[in-house]
Amino acid sequence: MSEALAVHGLRKSFGQLEVLRGVDLAVAEHEVVCLIGASGSGKSTLLRCVNLLEPIDEGRIVVEGEEITARGVNVNKVRRRIGIVFQAFNLFPHMSVLGNVTLAPTLALHTPRAQAEAEATALLDRFGLGDKRNDYPDRLSGGQQQRVAIVRALAMRPDLMLLDEVTSALDPELVAEVLEVIRELAAGGMTMLIATHEMTFARDIADRVCFLDEGVILEQGPPAQILSEPKEPRTQQFLQRIIEAGRL
């Protein structure tokens, strides 16, 4: 298996606060890796660093053999290969669904408009959003908005998808439809790095689960092992709290 993503010794601080304290992580092609951990453990920061939305302090990030944290790398080109979906959807409110999905392909990839719209329509149809293509985001439910955000990222044909707690802002009854989309992506062989609080989902979908604690990956392994028989006391504590909250 070749590596889609490799993170070496990644450190990142915000002022005095060191959020990532030497993260090492490798994701193979077609692999689905779930990041779990308490709020503030650095999951979101890690994903934002991989997409170069946050400048890193130390370490290296390599995507498909190319070091993207090296000097002189064109960040815009790197980001086109890495899709990210945010907790708060971040759709563009002044554009229709179709406008949201076709914006980046037409501007960044110079895809002709007609072709971009045809591809976007095909993607929207595939995820059950075909009839929403001309609607504006504020007309859609949270679940629909998040599915559009996923389609928007997919329209760039990324090699790697980063999902940052994509169901955390959703009403409980809307979570399933978004998770279904992610399952379909996994089944299609998409390489994904997923920060999530949905332990059941992580158990289902992940090839590997990483427990992030105070800025380092404390423990990782197959979901069955990490979620059922964690070795580290900190992981056990974290999962105990999740179980008490009725989330596992």
């Binding site: 997409n51 939305l53 815009n76 080109k77 980001r79 086109r80 890495i82 899709g83 990210i84 945010f86 708060a88 971040n90 759709l91 563009f92 409110p93 002044h94 914006l103 980046a104 501007l107 960044a108 990839l109 504020d138 928007r152 990222a153 760039m156």
Partner: protein, 267 residues
């Protein structure tokens, strides 16, 4: 509110308005100096005589307003964008932008008009117009660009950074994100305050009369001086108000529509 209460509210508002203005009218028309004021400010004959001239001169105000507005909209946007540029490389540009905005918001408009209108033609540069109206418009553009750029800047800052993040994460450049994602949202939000500044601009075109351009205020001054009657000033005021009211009501309507829309989308 029920229909009965609504009707009652309207009746009360109507009655109190009538009573208020009747009393005010009575107080004014029974003041000791009223006959004299009536003759010098509200002379019907004088009004009919000077109105056509002043209305004609008022076209110059409208013209100055329209020309200045176009340039202000463009320059102010450029200035706001310059001030929003990130990174230390653009520090000199940002500093220049701040200095510009500080200076032209600090100096009274009438002074800028006087300095440019009397100073620039005196340089006797080739290919530079000598027209006072031209320099008056330039002064208005300089001053209002500073104000309007602040309005644009508030709009840009009101767009949540996550919008830019989302655009950049898709591989868009800083400029593409600004042009397609941030600015369209920013401009939409500041249309009401922009229109508010333009109401101010409409009125300030009268200051150019100070340079000698015969616009409505200057024309009314000429007429008043010739007849020792101030009715022409009232005529000019009426014209300015007639132009401002529609714009003010339009601004109110836009604000209201925007608020309703956000409430409808918000909950």
């Amino acid at each position: 509110m029920s229909g009965g209460e609504g009707r009652r509210a309207v009746t009360v508002a109507l009655l109190s308005t009538i009573v208020f203005f009747t009393l005010l009218g009575f107080a004014i028309t029974h003041a000791p100096g009223w006959p004299e004021v009536k003759r010098t400010f509200f002379d019907r004959h004088q009004l009919a005589q000077s109105m056509p001239e002043i209305a004609h001169a008022f076209l110059l105000n409208v013209k100055m307003f329209c020309i200045a507005e176009v340039f202000i909209l463009v320059f102010a946007l450029l200035l706001a964008v310059v001030r929003s540029l990130p990174g230390p490389v653009f520090f000199p540009l940002r500093a220049l932008g701040i200095a510009y905005a500080d200076f032209f918001r600090g100096v009274p408009t009438i002074l800028v008009i006087a300095l440019l209108g009397f100073g620039a033609p005196a340089l006797q540069l080739k290919h530079v117009p000598l027209s006072t109206t031209f320099w008056g418009i330039v002064a208005l553009v300089l001053v209002y660009t500073a104000y309007v750029s602040e309005v644009y800047r508030a709009g840009i800052e009101s767009v949540h950074p996550s919008q830019d993040s989302a655009a950049r994460s898709l591989g868009l450049t800083h400029w593409q994100s600004l042009r397609k994602v941030v600015l369209p949202q920013a401009v939409r939000r500041v249309i009401p305050p922009l229109l508010n500044d333009f109401i101010g601009l409409q009125k300030d075109t009268a200051l150019v009369g100070f340079l000698g351009s015969v616009e409505a205020f200057k024309q009314s001054q000429i007429d008043a001086a010739a007849t020792f009657n101030y009715t022409p000033f009232v005529a000019a005021a009426v014209l300015f108000v007639a132009l401002t009211i529609p714009l003010a009501r339009f601004t109110d309507w836009l604000v209201l529509r925007d608020r309703r829309r956000r409430q409808a989308a918000g909950i």
